[in-house]
């Protein structure tokens, strides 16, 4: 086999791992959409906010320090301690659960039975509020997120695969962080599936996704379920925020990854958890392979910026419900 082939394999593997990241974000969208029919525009910001909070706790940053200093003329920035990563993650998780509760209490509760477009607008408002709030709380500088996952090329994989492609091939270059992210995401998805299949709350979540009225009649409180769903979406956002943040620093452009989840959802369908995962993998592999095979040699590169959206558009034309979405049948 020529070295070219193995470079292709390497691109494919890297695409798969990029796809896992997309899947993580898309998963958060699907969870909320299934349970409440809300397209949560704020999902990307939730990932950013979760990552900001995690770094803030880890570094012992004082929340709202800028505001406090401006009002009281003080110069406080840090508590002066560093929290171990594990506890910082737990604390950030608690914050995301409180956030879920507040969203239900302050927003959703007042918008029950409203049109989807109104709920969608509410989440846009929420997204920009959170962006400003996160800025105010933790500051807008780019932060380094390090929870102890090693980064950079994995030498073991590189060295042990170098023999494959002859003298021109130096082995597969895979980022260790991506490998970790893949396993963590897989574990997360498996845990979510088990939870939703084999526990009463999981069943209640699926029940609410199917039929609100029937869910009420068997004793499910919709409001409690919404808090749980938003808390789980917050948890997924935290995991996504950690992975993306560790990769490229915690910065406000992180919230734009939510936009990459849109074509993933178009592909996978808004109501399907396996769809979100497979959609993410297809987009990840698709855009990397397209760039490698066609984009870079023929089109001058940088096709990754638009490839996913083109695929989504083509899909919309031929299969509007996505790969795994429920077929929309209207009785006449």
């Amino acid at each position: 086999m020529p070295a070219e082939f193995y470079y292709g394999v390497e691109v494919f593997l890297n695409g798969l791992m990029a796809g896992v990241m997309y899947s993580l974000v898309a998963l958060g969208f699907v969870l909320i959409f299934k349970a409440s029919g809300i397209f949560n525009y704020a999902q990307g910001i939730m990932a950013l906010f979760a990552a900001l909070t995690l770094v803030g706790f880890q570094e012992g940053q004082i929340p709202f320090s800028h505001l406090i200093n401006a009002i009281f003329g003080t110069e406080v920035h840090h508590f002066g301690w560093h929290m171990p990563a594990f506890f910082a993650i737990l604390a950030a998780l608690v914050i995301m659960i409180i956030f879920a509760w507040l969203v239900e209490k302050l927003i959703l509760q007042h918008l029950v039975n409203q049109e989807p477009i109104i709920l969608f607008m509410a989440t846009i408002g929420l997204a920009y509020f959170m962006e400003g709030f996160g800025d105010l709380m933790w500051g807008s500088n780019v932060k380094k997120l390090d929870i102890g996952i090693p980064q950079g090329g994995n030498f073991w994989i590189e060295e042990s695969t170098a023999f494959l492609g002859g003298p021109d091939f130096y082995g597969f270059y895979l980022d260790t962080l991506d490998i970790y992210a893949t396993f963590i995401a897989a574990a997360l998805v498996i845990a979510l599936v088990i939870f939703s299949q084999y526990t009463k709350t999981g069943r209640a979540l699926r029940a609410v996704a199917d039929d609100h009225q029937a869910a009420l009649s068997v004793g499910i409180s919709l409001r409690a379920i919404w808090v749980i769903v938003w808390a789980i979406a917050g948890f997924v956002a935290l995991v996504a925020g950690i992975m993306w943040g560790a990769k490229s620093g915690v910065q406000f452009s992180l919230s734009l990854i939510a936009l990459k989840a849109l074509p993933v959802l178009m592909l996978g369908g808004f109501t399907s958890i396996p769809g979100a995962i497979i959609g993410g993998l297809i987009i990840g592999v698709g855009e990397k392979m397209f760039e490698f095979l066609i984009g870079a040699p023929l089109l001058g590169g940088a096709t990754e910026n638009w490839f996913a959206y083109m695929v989504a558009l083509v899909f919309l034309v031929f299969r509007p419900q996505g790969l795994f979405g429920e077929k929309i049948i209207e009785r006449v």
Binding site: T199, K200, A204, A207, D211, A214, G219
Partner: protein, 276 residues
């Protein structure tokens, strides 16, 4: 005017020898309005323990509204509701489920993506008490509770003769079987009052006979009190112990099937004598 049945005081014994007890539910002077429209006007009746109570009437008479009042989807503007002798405050539908009232819907409301087994398991929710954390970790009581409740659900599946479709997503089942699964989900709650909204609507003769048999068996074997709405007069007269007749939001008759059948107001409503 309405005809009060002499039997409704403190229980009675039916012709087939079933003992009917005191009131489970008493509706007193219920009035329900939607804006300017009065859906239910000053209606009183009771449901006694162990009986099959039917609510009948032409389309738009307010039957489904009445069921929704009992079930807590609607809150009446006037009147009192007594449940097991105590006045019931306005509750949310999910709280009413915890009080032991289960129901089915006119247009089947099942969880279509879930299997028969899972659908009926959701009916056990009000009996399951482990908290979220122990479920998430599959810890201690959570597992035991799943197993115990699963056993009860399997009994209901046997009772309704739907063993072969246990693992089938209910969205794929034919209409008659979906209705049966919905009944199973309501039964799983071991309700002290079971509400059935047109359990035989849209069924063929054979399916209707099956459903009638199941309703009678539920009542007979578990002693479940049942209130049902039904269009098919023949079925109602066959299975109900007592019947409330509604027309244009008012009660026009109340009594045994025989009493109701000979009530002139009821005959007029069904034969379409003009309302002035």
């Amino acid at each position: 005017m309405s005809m009060q049945s002499a039997q409704s005081a403190q229980g009675y014994v039916t012709a087939d020898g079933r003992k009917i007890g005191g009131p489970v539910m008493e509706m007193e002077n219920i009035t329900l309005r939607f804006g300017g429209v009065t859906a239910i006007q000053d209606i009183s009746f009771d449901i006694l323990e162990g009986e099959i109570r039917a609510i009948i009437g032409p389309n738009g008479a307010g039957k489904s509204s009445m069921l929704n009042v009992i079930n807590g989807f609607y809150h009446p503007q006037e009147g009192r509701i007594l449940y097991h002798g105590e006045e019931r405050k306005p509750l949310k539908p999910y709280q009413i489920a915890y009080q032991g009232i289960a129901r089915t819907f006119q247009n089947i409301a099942l969880f279509k993506g879930m299997t028969t087994l899972d659908n009926i398991m959701t009916g056990r929710l009000t009996h399951m008490k482990t908290n979220l954390l122990s479920q998430a970790l599959w810890w201690g009581r959570a597992e035991k509770e799943e197993v115990e409740n699963r056993e009860i659900v399997e009994k209901i599946i046997d009772f309704l003769e739907i063993q072969t479709i246990r693992k089938t997503p209910v969205g794929r089942l034919p209409y008659g079987l979906q209705k049966r699964v919905e009944l199973g989900r309501a039964l799983a709650a071991e309700p002290s009052l079971l509400l059935l909204d047109e359990p035989m609507a849209g069924m063929n003769v054979e399916e209707k006979e099956d459903m009638s048999r199941f309703i009678l068996d539920v009542n007979d074997e578990f002693g479940t009190t049942i209130a049902l709405i039904e269009h098919d007069m023949g079925v109602v007269m066959d299975i109900a112990d007592r019947v409330v007749v509604m027309d244009y939001g008012k009660k026009i008759g109340d009594g045994t099937p025989a009493e109701v059948r000979s009530n002139q107001a009821v005959i007029d409503a069904y034969l379409g004598v003009s309302h002035d």
